[in-house]
């Protein structure tokens, strides 16, 4: 279980990445209600909502260093 760097809520990484469908081009599709993630400086961070992810995008270092 990962912690959302913004709201500190729990995010289930496996659920966020679990395949729930397939696009017509053959790519894995996931359930958007299970959270999202962001690739930052070589690491994936998990978020419970897009709103949290958007806040993180504006100030990643602040959230990672706890100063945001």
């Amino acid at each position: 279980m990962a912690k959302c760097p913004v709201c500190k809520g729990d995010v289930n990484e496996d659920a966020a990445k679990a395949q729930t469908g397939m696009t017509s081009g053959g790519a894995k599709e996931v359930d958007p209600t299970m959270g999202t993630r962001q690739f930052h400086d070589g690491t994936w961070y998990y978020f419970d909502t897009l709103e949290c992810r958007n806040k993180f995008t504006r100030n990643p270092d602040g959230y990672l260093q706890g100063s945001a």
Binding site: S24, A27, F39, N54
Partner: protein
């Protein structure tokens, strides 16, 4: 200079209109549009009926008109393409090759890539998702961080893309990734083309403001769905590289610029003028005929004059590209004028029709299936997508007027 069409061109236009009248039904439009506007209750991919329609259009020689015959095109001119595309776009049928990928392949692709992708795009057997924007790299696209690292004969891709609007029905992705983290941000970028079923690709739906209710066909940016797409150790062969390694910025920018030229882009904005002209000509409210109101006539005329500027700018761009001239800032100038005109005319319509112009299609009082209301939500998007109007103004200033760049070097000097 005479911008009128020749008798032969007018004949072609009538032929296309006749084809549309005979072959395109509202039901078929809905099915063809479902490809781009998939929702949980609507089918994915092209329906057999929509595919049959595109086959008929292809058999008429109306797909890929400007592309060379050896790659499945017609070897035709841009004005012919414009006339055909304008009629189909107005009817709600998209016959473009799906964005900036095809012109970029023609400019920078290997012979093998051209022979594989261009015929497939023309026949609509191949569809690209555009993988450029990232959560922190939209208007400032060169800030992108999705990485492609060489590993023998392969590249390994890690990262994510935002607003990959075609990812849920695309067969391939046209991806911009960083291949040199130490290079200046506009360098060290490369472009890759590879199938969407490559292991490690994940698509996460993002439902738009047009999702509930879904927008009628012909709405400005009426798609109900876009996506974010993740790449986890996606391994692709080096032959997927488009153009030279680390030179992708130029290829991608050029493709985007060329994609801004044509009837589809022009009509995104100008179709709104056509909507209101058609509406006021054919409607009255309990005896009040809006077409007879001096204030409404004045506003519509003003907007129509602006619309003609859009058309002339498009014609000029096409002429430059057709002649093989230097096409630098013209597409950017168009990309400022047309979307902002689209917003102005949408706002003008809300002033003319009042609250009726904001009703969505589920309202029993909605006008023209709610297209005016859905346009209010979608029109602003056209000033952001495919290069924001702010970035486009900067390109006009630098490339058109040769003003110094506002970008600064690491020492703080203007570049």
């Amino acid at each position: 200079m005479d911008f009128a069409y020749t008798a032969e061109q007018e004949k072609l236009r009538e032929e296309v209109r006749g084809f549309i009248k005979a072959n395109v039904t509202p039901e078929l439009l809905h099915e063809a549009d479902a490809e781009a506007s998939t929702t949980p209750d609507r089918p994915r991919g092209m329906s057999p009926k929509a595919a049959a329609l595109y086959k008929k259009i292809y058999d008429r020689g109306w797909l890929g008109i400007t592309y060379p015959k050896e790659y499945g095109g017609q070897g035709g001119d841009r004005l012919t393409q414009y006339i055909v595309e304008e009629e189909f776009t107005r009817a709600g049928i998209n016959i473009s090759l799906g964005g900036s990928g095809a012109p970029a392949i023609m400019a920078a692709g290997t012979e093998e890539q051209k022979k594989y992708y261009i015929p497939g795009l023309i026949k609509r057997e191949i569809t690209f998702a555009l993988g450029f924007t990232e959560p922190h790299a939209g208007a400032d696209l060169a800030n992108l961080r999705c990485s492609a690292v060489e590993d023998g004969d392969y590249y390994v891709i890690n990262g994510q893309k935002m607003y990959t609007s075609a990812a849920h029905f695309a067969t391939h992705i046209y991806l911009m990734a960083r291949t040199d983290r130490n290079a200046p941000k506009h360098e060290g970028i490369s472009i890759f083309l590879f199938p969407m079923d490559t292991p490690g690709i994940t698509v996460r739906p993002l439902w738009t403001i047009q999702n509930n209710p879904t927008a009628p066909v012909g709405t400005t940016y009426g798609n109900s769905r876009t996506n974010e797409t993740f790449f986890d150790n996606v391994r692709i062969h080096k032959s997927c590289l488009l153009g030279e390694k680390n030179k992708g910025w130029r290829v991608g920018s050029m493709g985007l610029n060329l994609d801004r030229v044509g009837a589809s882009r022009y009509l995104i904005s100008v179709r709104r003028d056509e909507d209101i002209v058609n509406f006021v000509k054919s409607n009255n409210f309990d005896g009040f005929e809006p077409g007879k109101s001096p204030a409404i006539r004045d506003k519509i005329a003003e907007m129509w004059i602006e619309a003609q500027v859009c058309r002339l700018m498009t014609m000029r761009s096409m002429s430059i590209v057709e002649r093989g001239g230097k096409f630098t800032y013209e597409g950017s100038a168009e990309k400022v004028w047309a979307p902002e005109h689209g917003v102005r005319v949408t706002e003008a319509i809300t002033q003319m029709l009042g609250p009726y112009a904001t009703l969505l299609r589920t309202s029993k009082h909605a006008l023209m299936d709610g297209v005016f209301g859905h346009n209010v939500m979608g029109s602003f998007q056209s000033g952001i997508n495919h290069g924001s109007v702010q970035v486009m103004r900067d390109q006009v200033a630098r490339r058109g007027l040769e003003l110094p760049s506002s970008r600064r070097s690491k020492t703080g000097e203007a570049k």
